[in-house]
């Protein structure tokens, strides 16, 4: 599969790191991995590190927005960091950037998520 996903906990924030291409075929693996990590952490704070994601289409938007909905209900927060140019364009175009903040890197993003 041309996507690798890992989800780790950093200072109470679940960080999902994606590498490769996120489309409908690879979306299920991401959903499972991230949902399991959120469950385990018991924390509604989620950061998507997209620095190594070379491709994403609207199936990826669905995955992001699905987690966003769930986290919002738990009064948590979600953010994105490091998107490559094409991914950033998709996030912009779809309006995701108007509800989810974007940061340059993990450290800045985690600090901002914890501040709230």
């Amino acid at each position: 599969m041309n996507l690798a996903v890992e989800a780790v906990q950093v200072s109470g924030v679940v960080v999902a790191r994606l590498r490769g291409e996120l489309d409908h075929h690879t979306s299920e693996a991401v959903r499972e991995c991230v949902d399991a990590a959120l469950e385990e952490a018991g924390s509604p704070f989620l950061l998507w590190n997209l620095a190594e994601l070379s491709f994403m289409d609207s199936s990826g938007l669905g995955v992001l927005l699905g987690r966003y909905r769930r986290i919002s209900q738990q009064k948590g927060k979600m953010a994105v960091c490091g998107p490559t140019a094409p991914v950033r364009r998709l996030l912009e175009l779809s309006g995701v950037l108007s509800i989810v903040p974007v940061y340059d890197d993990e450290t800045t993003a985690i600090a901002a998520l914890r501040e709230a």
């Binding site: 041309n2 075929h25 979306s27 289409d57 609207s58 199936s59 938007l61 669905g62 998709l90």
Partner: protein, 148 residues
């Protein structure tokens, strides 16, 4: 003109593994027009949307064939994605931003909106029970001018 005209057709089983194959194949074909990195990313995304729709929505309960044709003419790329699946009842509704018939699959409803943003023109012809045909036309800014 004819010297710059080129054609290909792709057919494949409606399996999700083939989404990435379809966009790589189209990109490899379009590459001969020397698109910019951004144009190529737009084309790959638009193809991915149309092909994914054929796979998920066109054939929800089984495998069928998806066809992608691509024609290059001068600086213009025409891509047609077709399935012989269930078709769309109301195309106007389907094309609305955020509309999806499958929220249960966490679809975002942004597929058609992305195809429209990333090409100059999108036509959809669909007949319930017969299938769907999505035609996208995109003019490349980057192509070398045609001298003929």
């Amino acid at each position: 003109m004819s010297a710059r005209r080129n054609y290909m057709r792709l057919e494949f089983a409606s399996r999700s593994e083939n989404e990435s194959f379809a966009r790589v194949a189209v990109a490899a074909f379009v590459a001969q027009l020397d698109p910019t990195v951004e144009e190529l990313a737009e084309i790959k995304t638009a193809v991915s949307e149309a092909v994914t729709n054929a796979i998920i929505h066109g054939y929800p309960d089984g495998e069928g064939l998806v066809a992608v044709t691509c024609t290059l003419d001068g600086d213009t790329v025409e891509i047609v994605v077709e399935d012989r699946g269930c078709g769309i009842e109301d195309v106007e509704l389907a094309r609305r931003p955020m509309y999806t018939s499958r929220p249960d699959l966490e679809r975002s409803g942004m597929g058609f909106t992305i195809m429209e943003s990333f090409s100059d023109r999108v036509d959809v012809i669909s007949r319930p029970g017969e299938g769907t045909r999505v035609r996208m036309v995109k003019r490349l800014q980057s192509s070398a001018p045609t001298f003929d």
